[in-house]
């Protein structure tokens, strides 16, 4: 069963959908931690390296090996749990989740079960239209990642039709944090907004790359639909949405599928549903699987972790300013509109860039306009990260100074900025090299103005008779003469003076 996203208002939309269906969504997010080494061994955490080059007896599950907990991973996970306002367990325990699969070398995943690290948190989310909602966080727990299966010989890397499969264990044992939300999400828009907010939160904690394409941020969804007020409907687990866009489209498709099923008088079956980004449709996975019994039991090879209250407090105090708090502060401190403040606090480095620029340039509004305008456009178009931007905040502040003192017009400043990004040179050098300095010297401009007015007696006469528009002709002539470098305001003033008031 598939459903292409349709346009217009959809029957499932809450709360005013035509069909009167309400969708209920809970998310399960996996965050790969950016520790140097794996969760339970000393192998480096890597991405995109030659298969099976970062493995050892421990992460390959050889006989006799034992896991040893990565302290940094516990610290990172605790930071995430704290940032989500979770209650941190004083006593937390690892469990074994038992199942067979070739990418799982021990045939169990070391995970957490009934004593997770963090419980009962929440995250406040703002929608693009300014609406707000809060998503409860059921739990935050630690676990290890599996290896990666590569299906060869078939089409498109899928298992169907493949003639053999290979396993790359480089990823096996990478520390993961799983975040499970309450079913507090009711639309694909909300789900996307939540995930964007969560990503920026985790990013600002500096504990993960949170890159959905590379898989360091992964999201599955539990989805059901019901009539408002009814008990929860049967849920399905929606997988394989490795971008914000696919999360949105996957949810749309699955909700439509469920509504269609129910409206046809059929029942939704509890199962795993796979989103296909190529077609934008969902399909139920080839399902030989029965209900999984993972036979969880406490991992006897690891001692329970007792987090010292002081340790947790120290971590809490060391948390950076989180996006929601920063947004409020930016609005207050710089008098920014909510939308700008939200955009600047959504990306830690961009926010830092802005604050550095505002401090150096003095004008926060114009700093915000530059950062969210030209700078962001450049970063987006070039794919350059803020950290690697060739134009540092100090350099941009210098450029803004040149606009401020009238050396450059706004238009010229944009050109200079472009040159700065492509050459890495500073603004003053570029202005000097290109002879771009705006001519603001009244004496120099006055001579030019006098010459041009004298050379065009006809238009001058028209102006004096009241044809105000003719002034534009004269400005154009001056600009042509000065190759656009004349200060337009001064040119205007000088022309009026020279031509005399219209109609006089």
């Amino acid at each position: 069963m598939s459903a292409a996203p349709s346009s217009g208002s959809r029957s499932w939309e809450f709360p005013t959908g035509h069909g009167g269906w309400e969708s209920v969504i809970g998310l399960e997010i996996h965050v790969q931690l950016s520790t140097q080494t794996k969760m339970f061994c000393g192998c480096r955490v890597t991405f995109g390296e030659l298969p099976n080059t970062h493995v050892c007896p421990v992460c390959l599950g050889h006989p006799g090996v034992l896991p040893v907990c990565n302290e940094k991973a516990i610290q990172y996970a605790t930071r995430i749990a704290l940032a989500l306002d979770c209650r941190i367990a004083e006593h937390t325990v690892f469990h074994r989740k038992n199942y067979f699969y070739p990418d799982l070398p021990k045939a169990y995943q070391i995970s957490q079960y009934d004593q997770p690290l963090g419980l009962s948190g929440h995250l406040a989310v703002e929608l693009e239209d300014g609406g707000r909602f809060t998503v409860g966080i059921t739990r935050v727990h630690m676990e290890e990642d599996a290896g990666k299966l590569i299906h060869a010989g078939g089409a498109s890397g899928r298992i169907d039709g493949a003639d053999h499969s290979l396993v790359d264990f480089n990823r096996g044992g990478t520390p993961l944090v799983e975040i499970v939300t309450e079913p507090d999400i009711h639309t694909p828009d909300q789900a996307r907004a939540f995930l964007i907010q969560l990503r920026s939160l985790v990013e600002q904690l500096g504990v993960s790359d949170v890159n959905m394409e590379e898989g360091s941020l992964r999201c599955d969804a539990n989805v059901s639909v019901r009539r408002p007020g009814d008990p929860f409907g049967t849920k399905t687990e929606l997988k394989n949405m490795n971008s914000f866009r696919f999360l949105h489209r996957g949810l749309e498709a699955e909700i439509e599928r469920q509504v269609g099923t129910l409206e046809a008088g059929e029942t939704v079956v509890q199962q795993t549903v796979h989103f296909d980004p190529a077609t934008g449709t969902v399909s139920t996975l080839r399902s030989k699987e029965e209900a999984h019994d993972y036979r969880y039991f406490p991992e006897p090879d690891l001692t329970p972790i007792d987090l010292d209250a002081q340790y947790v407090e120290r971590l809490r105090e060391s948390l950076p300013e989180l996006p929601a708090a920063r947004k409020e502060r930016l609005m207050e401190q710089y008098d920014l509109p909510p939308r700008d403040a939200a955009a600047l606090s959504g990306n830690k480095l961009l926010g830092d860039y802005f604050e550095e620029l505002a401090a150096a340039a003095g004008d926060a509004r114009s700093a915000a306009n530059w950062v969210l305008g030209d700078l962001s456009a450049y970063l987006n178009a070039s794919g350059v990260e803020v950290a690697d931007c060739p134009v540092k905040a100090a350099h941009l502040a210098e450029l803004l100074g040149l606009v401020d003192d009238g050396t450059l017009s706004g238009k010229m400043a944009k050109e200079v900025f472009e040159t700065m990004t492509s050459t890495g040179k500073d603004a003053k050098t570029i202005v000097a090299e290109k002879g771009l300095g705006q001519i603001s010297d009244s004496g120099e401009l006055e001579a030019i103005v006098a010459r041009i007015v004298a050379a065009n007696p006809g238009p001058a006469e028209e102006f004096r008779q009241g044809r105000e528009k003719v002034l534009g002709f004269f400005v154009g002539q001056v600009m042509k003469e000065t190759r656009g470098q004349a200060n337009p305001q001064i040119v205007n003033d000088l022309l009026r003076k020279r031509l005399g008031a219209p109609g006089a």
Binding site: H62, L66, N98, A107
Partner: protein, 495 residues
Amino acid sequence: MSAAGGGPALDVTTLTAHRCRELLAGGDVSATELTRAYLDRIAAVDERVQAFLRVDESGAMAAAAAVDAKPRGERQPWEGVPVGLKDIFCVRGVETTCASRILQHYIPPYDATIIAKLRAAGLIFLGKLNMDEFAMGSSTENSAFQTTRNPWDLDRVPGGSSGGSAACVAASEAPWALGTDTGGSIRQPASLCGVVGLKPTYGAVSRYGLIAFASSLDQIGPLTRDVRDAAALLDLIAGRDPRDCTSTGLPEPAGTPGRADLQGLRFGVIEEYVGETCQTGVREVFQSAVDSISALGGVCEVVSLPSVERGIAAYYLIAPSEASSNLARFDGVRYGHRTAHSEDLYEMYVRTRSEGFGPEVKRRIMIGTYALSAGYYDAYYAQAQRTRTLIIQDFARAFERFDFLISPTSPTVAFKIGERTADPLAMYLSDLCTVPVSLAALPGISIPSGFSAGLPVGLQIVGPHFSERRLLDAAYALEQCLDVNTVAPLAEVSQ
């Protein structure tokens, strides 16, 4: 049994590891001669005993030659002393099978921590010793490869699961050996083979590189001819290991036991283990050991530990549960046996594991899988853990009154090969007296205490957590008093 180089023949049948050390230190024998003498002994008797799965003659001789190349003054204390290893320890580059077809031809890419320690101490590895498959059993009959025989009566079992280790020491094929104990797998075979076997406190010795059976119970320990050797081998392997976060090491080395009497020590006789469950002959030998303790000035009183009677039931839920998970990695994907015939992944798993595991291992995997299943977990696994807590509390209360607790190590002497293979429950009862000690993570030692109808009877002495030094000291005093012969006659197989 002749030493290399035309020197006088070296008789290894009565050698302890300490004596080996003295001979080496005094220049009486070279490491090469000593190793050769043990290899000759193995060649002479192991066809009958079947203790070794693999003898590493070339590796042992090369290691011995390397020792001999060093000036004696630069050697470490135990350098050049041979040792036998249960085939459950990963030794880099040496086939390690756990006596299972599923690991046949498996060559570990790394050394277990205790192997690295012994290597660094200069011990000579003679080879890998037979055991019950994955240490599951009490007779070594569950080995996929061979049946080890008791050197005191070749028609009888050596006990298990460290039956190869106990038999090889009893048959003087090595001065000492290492085994593992999960519910009695060192102490019970030591008892049946008339040697000393020590299970240390859980955590005293690193488990890294010990192929796991039941992680919360497994401990590595020595099987030796006397208590002093046990103390020395314990000190060589004990210690906290950053690779095993359940390891703690010992608060103090065991040192060299030298206690002469048992003055001022109180011994609790575990009431539940001296009744009708014990063979009469075992009870008699046990009673004479109690008399010896009293003669040495110790005080013996009966103590009841009511919860230990549920020990076997709890153990046979906890250990199989952990095992069902620990043994899941043997799936044919990365190493070990993989079936030759399979159409898909599921069939590959099923056939590989059906072909690779023996019946007892399969039985325990099934028991454990069942006990952990949703809906049964609380009734079985969780209930067993609660029982374990009660057992721990019973022992803790007893140690408020007593320095040590004693019982026969095994309710019976060595039984006949095949006698219990058809009756798993009878086999499980072999570990009646040792299992609760393992559940409580306590140190326990079995020392030879006499004979019943010509077969060895062991005495189990149990101490509080991390009391190894005192435990070995007391065991030494009693050992001197009992003065039991540990040299097996090695009769011909009667058939």
